[in-house]
């Protein structure tokens, strides 16, 4: 059974971290993964940097640019991850935009993911219909779970459709916003989390975008099964370096 499904079965509030591969330094990837696992993080999204990240705010834009400048490439990332399964056992997901995968060759990309032990993919700009028509079979062939996003504007009908296509979890974007918003969550989000949660979907709900501290983590997970932190983690790494990881993770989990 896939590591993602196994993890979701544990039935606890999950904490997942996103970071950009190749940032702050090109060769930090595996060490960050090891430290995240050691600190008790449940799952990781490894960001494959892209020159034009449409759905990302300034923090992830900047980390992507630095990573590319550092020399990160798709090939290099797979090279770095070659032996990662010897030391890291939590689910690993690659999150990235579609064009670099298209250039690599989608089948080739999936094959490499399977070889190094990647469990799933999040591709914000690969739409549901395209995925179903052209890529679903390839993903299945290599045992990869594709994670879809929903937002506060997604219609109920489409959420049901996404739920039917998803395996594992649905990535709930917290608000109408690109990544890295620091506005916190108000009544509107609370209602949205509640509304989706009461739809009783087959898939687990995990919230992302705008989660930055223990308060927003607690809010996000009060009606869902977990949350993903990206920009806030990247900002922390910029300030404190890799040494700050375990302290950061415990600060999120403390209630």
């Amino acid at each position: 059974m896939s590591r993602i499904k196994e993890k979701l079965k544990q039935n606890k509030k999950l904490l997942s971290i996103y970071f950009t591969a190749g940032y702050p330094k090109l060769e930090d990837t595996v060490e960050i993964l090891e430290q995240l696992e050691k600190s008790g993080v449940d799952m990781v999204e490894i960001g494959l940097p892209f020159s034009d990240p449409l759905a990302d705010g300034p923090t992830i834009q900047a980390s992507s640019q630095v990573a590319l400048k550092n020399g990160m490439t798709t090939n290099h990332l797979f090279e770095q991850l070659k032996d990662v399964r010897k030391t890291v056992s939590i689910p690993l997901i690659i999150m990235g935009y579609f064009n670099p995968m298209l250039q690599y060759g989608v089948e080739n990309f999936c094959k490499k993911c399977a070889e190094v032990g990647i469990d799933g993919l999040i591709i914000p700009d690969l739409p549901l219909a395209e995925y179903q028509e052209h890529y679903a079979e390839t993903f299945k062939k290599y045992g990869l779970i594709n994670i879809f996003l929903i937002t506060p504007q997604t219609s109920e009908e489409r959420i049901r459709q996404i739920d039917a296509t998803s395996e594992g979890f649905i990535y709930m974007v917290s608000s109408a916003s690109v990544t890295g918003s620091s506005e916190g969550f108000g009544e509107e989000q609370e209602k949205y989390f509640q509304r989706i949660s009461s739809m009783e979907l087959t898939n687990t709900l995990i919230v992302g975008f705008g989660i930055q501290d223990s308060k927003t983590y607690t809010q996000a997970t009060s009606h869902t099964n977990g949350a993903i932190i990206g920009s806030a983690f990247i900002k922390m790494i910029l300030e404190k370096g890799l040494y700050g990881i375990s302290e950061f993770v415990s600060s999120i989990r403390k209630v």
């Binding site: 449409l54 834009q61 064009n99 250039q103 739409p127 109408a176």
Partner: protein
Amino acid sequence: MNYNVNEKGYYGEFGGAYIPEMLYPNVEELRQNYLKIMAEESFQKEFRALLKDYVGRPTPLYFAKRLSEKYNTKIYLKREDLCHTGAHKVNNTIGQILMAKRLGKTRIIAETGAGQHGVATATVCALMGLKCIVFMGEIDIERQAPNVARMKMLGAKVVPAISGSKTLKDATNEAIRDWINNPVDTHYIIGSVVGPHPYPDMVARFQSVISEEIKVQLKEKEGKENPNFVVACVGGGSNAAGAFYHYLDIPEVGIIAVEAAGKGIDSGESAATSALGKVGIIHGSKTLLMQTNDGQITEPYSISAGLDYPGVGPMHANLFRSGRGEFISITDDKAMQAGLELCKLEGIIPAIESSHALAIFENRKFKEEDVVVVNLSGRGDKDLDTYIKYFNL
């Protein structure tokens, strides 16, 4: 073969809507409504009236006698440079602002490179009393100061795009991010036949008034609707899409798309997407795209700020791939010379974008009896600074 968009939003293998889920409701709303709204009689009436009385259409189809003599063929210029605001861009912004109003949107965003589309958007927003925010690369804001001032005078807010390479593609990224952040009240007026479906088709339809008029005007002047060739410069490809539109399915009309070679195709400083691009995804569209082997989008270069887009609209990618269109690339130097030549021979100062289309006559020979229509997409006022520097005027 059909060179228009199919029901799934594709031109051959190009097009589609590769957008994050956050944009899905907006783009879907537009997709479901744009054809219906455009077909409404009240829409057509308002659109046509504004094109006539506000933009100044129909624009003349002018027989360029001295230019024709020089190149020994019959050259007509479609005078989009005489449109209000100085370029064809306004045909699209008029159409889209009427669309936005019917969709109940109250806030308009746009991207701009040279500032022509930004000015055309700010203009129609002033006309309709809608709030206007224009994203523009920080570097372009410096390069195109007069257009920044025009937008401000027209009441628009100009927001610098400080991400990435700080030019047109980044301004487009910022506009898309703004739309993600403001999904309910905002309409995004894209400035060319790029972006996710239905934008390329919608913008092409608004610009198609260009070839609609050419047909009528050529009939008057030459006794036939069809020229032997239609020529247009291609940045994203909107003026070209408009000039080609009603000729796409008429095989005896040759279609010539002119791209910016910059300092030369192999110089590393070029914007000739058909020559240098590979299939990829930019701003929600699968098209030809200048990129690294690793799929990172690269920064194009051209002396004309309106042609330095790293992609090309999916219609044009398909015209190239299918062989329906002939693609020619023109260097900075050739374009500048052709621009100056038009000034001297015809008394018309063209936009540098349009000068690229004019520059093909030196190497691309036509028969004496050929009728060649060149879409003169804009006037050169905005480019005076560049002309002054280049020619030491």
